[in-house]
């Protein structure tokens, strides 16, 4: 083959690959629904004189009907009740902490003084930027303190959720509902955050009946795109579990969970899926709704709203702020009428036992 021809072919192949690397990373930002959602962002019309909120998403952003959408719901509430103005910013695939810092600084330069990073990935950036801007408040969902000294900064709040407790309740719901004594769990990435969901879920199932089999699968080791932006992978994993005898499958996998809902619909009557973060019964397709038994609620909307409220009232939250079953920051949903009153009564009983400390829910599997 002629030299330049081979080079050109190789170049095009390599370029395609490089771009597809980007493209797969962009996964979440495509799709008509989200674009529609983005163009109808409440921030376009908000013009109150309350806090100026900058919401920084991780890759994917609004449109996952789960984690990020829940944060957006909190933002809407802040606009309505606190007269807040706002701006949303989305991450680029594969970026480093410097890029996240730059995003926060850009928002500050644009006049936003209440910044919320949606996802622990903003922890380092927030702690790096915060000392330069003492008048700006930073909140990080699922955040942590990355500094060696572990000293709190007065203007940074790590908004944490006891997701293991909510997972415990939906685990119990799965245990009470399964007829095959076989249930499943699909995690996005095999990381501590998601392992907490698994630990709570398994504990809930076993609380009902220790002999029930729990199938567990993570979609990726740590690649967030393959873990949380991968409905096809979620569908494959879920179908495998249903084929393997499970009749209830719970996911903690963001947008990948939408694949679970496709799988449960195909598996048909008698099979169930459990949603996560938001009440996914409310946002699912009509044909899929009946299959969504319940959802483990992680009230990120509450976290976002209460953080904005605390800034607005001059008493900004800082350090670690943890929401759990006791304060309603995590919970399970009862909007599917197919979730029987009998099961709800038993779940509420478990809930009280967790709140009273009679049951301690593990955080690691």
């Amino acid at each position: 083959m002629r030299h330049s021809a081979r080079l050109a072919i190789g170049a095009v192949a390599a370029a395609t690959l490089a771009l597809s690397g980007c493209a797969s990373g962009d996964g979440g930002s495509g799709g008509g629904d989200e674009d529609a959602a983005a163009s109808e962002s409440i921030c376009d019309s908000a013009d109150g004189d309350g806090p100026a909120i900058g919401l920084a998403y991780d890759v994917g952003g609004v449109g996952d009907q789960s984690f990020n959408d829940s944060a957006y719901a909190g933002l809407e509430k802040a606009v309505e009740e606190l007269d807040a103005t706002c701006e949303e910013a989305e991450a680029q695939a594969g970026e480093d902490d410097a890029a996240r810092e730059e995003r926060l600084r850009t928002l500050i330069d644009a006049g936003y003084d209440t910044l919320i990073g949606v996802g622990y990935i903003y922890s380092t950036a927030a702690y790096n930027v915060a000392p330069d801007y003492p008048e700006v408040s930073f909140g990080v969902i699922d955040g942590f303190n990355p500094t060696e000294s572990q000293e709190d900064l007065p203007n940074v709040a790590n908004i944490n959720f006891a997701a293991n407790e909510a997972s415990f309740l939906v685990g119990a719901a799965a245990g009470l509902t399964t007829e095959t004594d076989n249930v499943g769990f699909i995690g996005g990435t095999n990381t501590p955050l998601i392992q907490g969901f698994e630990a709570g879920y398994v504990a809930g199932v076993k609380e009902v009946d220790p002999t029930i089999t729990v199938q567990t699968q993570y979609l990726a080791q740590e690649d967030p795109v393959k873990g949380f932006e991968n409905p096809a992978g979620g569908e494959t994993a879920a179908t495998g579990m249903y084929d393997n005898g499970a009749d209830v499958v719970y996911h903690a996998a963001g947008k990948s969970g939408l694949g679970l809902f496709d799988a449960v619909e195909r598996a048909g009557q008698g099979n169930w899926a459990i949603g996560v973060d938001s009440d996914q019964y409310l946002t699912a397709d009509k044909s899929q709704k009946p299959f969504i038994l319940t959802s483990a609620l992680k009230r990120i909307d509450t976290g976002v709203f209460e953080f904005a409220e605390s800034v607005d009232s001059g008493k900004q939250l800082s350090g670690y702020v943890t929401y759990d079953l006791a304060d309603g920051g995590v919970d399970y949903s009862t909007s599917n009428p197919k979730l029987s009153q009998d099961v709800i009564d038993q779940l509420d009983d478990y809930k009280q036992q967790v709140i009273s400390g009679k049951i301690t829910v593990p955080t690691e599997p």
């Binding site: 050109a8 594969g94 480093d96 928002l107």
Partner: protein, 364 residues
């Protein structure tokens, strides 16, 4: 062709490519219902002082990545595995540095060598597969990328310690950090000290390529393998050496950030930089200066795109489209210009022949 004309033809290719890229990006923006005017206003606005720092850091890292890819490309070896080599090397380096087996700067120097060795070793797998089993390096390096990402993530959970919701390796002792230097006076963000590795690597690449026997063999093999074999080049050995070298340079990519910023390998490490390096090398025509310009352009575009979402309500992802189109149009433009040049030279020769023949006809 006259020198002036040749220069103009040479400049035509990149100029053409950028015009095409600008046009395509504008069309995409219009099709998506966004305003191209806003896009270009944000993109072409003067960067803030701290942006210069970010652009400099990004350029250094992209340059190393582009260089790693270019070393292979010069020999017609498509090392698509820079990403995997970079991850393995940075992880190995971070683990080694975190152990603090050596004091101060010695630890830093040793870590850089460890990272280069790890990157070279990872690329070496592809090299061995190529020379012993004839496996195309394109296929094997792509596969090795996937393995590297999962392997490092797995090992990180084994040897790393938990920090919040992430894992990271032990922090490098402060005595081994490389101080950053200010680019813009009075600005709190500074350029990584090891960004200068890019300069060292660039000079090394230029010298190696143009002033050594190895560089000559490398270019010769790239131009024509059979001719190289005929002139006594051991192509199999060249394949191994070149891929090892490419992997070693890939091992440098993570060093500026490791010693200047994060001081550990964590789950939030920058990803995709190895793939971007391929595009940078192509845009820079695998030439030491060309890659530098390409890295600067990519670094500038990335940085300037960052505020797009906030100030212009345009998704920052559009910049990936611009970068992709730039690379593709550069490749096409050079081919078009090459053909034009060949035709022009043919016409020139034909004209001269005609003239000579005419002269012969006239003279008895």
């Amino acid at each position: 062709m006259t020198t002036v004309r040749r220069l103009m033809v040479g400049a035509a290719a990149p100029a053409l490519a950028f015009v095409v890229a600008a046009a395509v990006t504008s069309v995409v923006l219009v099709a998506a219902g966004d305003s191209p005017a806003d896009f270009w206003r944000v993109l072409l606005s003067a960067p803030d002082p701290r942006d210069y720092v970010a652009i400099a850091n990004a350029t250094a890292v992209l340059y190393l990545s582009g260089l790693a890819a270019a070393i292979g490309f010069r020999m017609n070896l498509f090392n698509i595995g820079v990403e995997g080599q970079y991850r393995v090397a940075t992880f190995a380096g971070a683990v080694f540095a975190g152990q603090a087996l050596l004091p101060g700067a010695l630890n830093t120097a040793a870590t850089i060598l460890v990272a280069m060795a790890a990157g070279a070793a990872w690329a070496g797998i592809a090299a061995l597969l190529r020379v012993l089993r004839g496996v195309s390096e394109v296929i094997s390096t792509i596969m090795l990328n996937a393995i590297a990402v999962s392997l490092v993530a797995f090992l990180l959970q084994k040897v790393g310690r938990r920090q919040g919701e992430t894992f990271r390796t032990d922090t490098i002792p402060e005595s081994s950090w490389v101080p950053s230097f200010p680019l813009v006076p009075g600005e709190s963000s500074q350029v990584y000290g090891l960004a200068l590795l890019a300069v060292v690597a660039g000079v090394g690449f230029a010298v190696l390529l143009n002033r050594t026997r190895f560089g000559f063999d490398l270019r010769a093999t790239g131009h024509s393998e059979s001719a190289a074999v005929a002139s006594g080049v051991n192509v199999r050995r060249m394949v191994v050496y070149t891929l090892l070298l490419s992997g070693a340079v890939a091992g440098l990519i993570g060093m500026p950030e490791l010693f200047g910023g994060s001081h550990a390998y964590g789950s939030t490490i920058q990803t995709g930089i190895g793939f971007t390096g391929i595009a940078v090398a192509l845009l820079g025509r695998n030439h030491p200066w060309g890659i530098a310009v390409a890295a600067l352009i990519f670094g500038y575009l990335n940085q300037q795109a960052s505020p797009l979402g906030v100030t212009a309500d345009i998704s920052t992802e559009i910049i990936a489209v611009t970068q992709g189109v730039v690379v593709l149009s550069v490749v096409i433009a050079y081919e078009v210009v090459r053909r034009y040049r060949v035709r022009a030279e043919q016409a020139e020769v034909a004209r001269q022949l005609r003239r000579e023949r005419g002269a012969q006809a006239v003279s008895p």
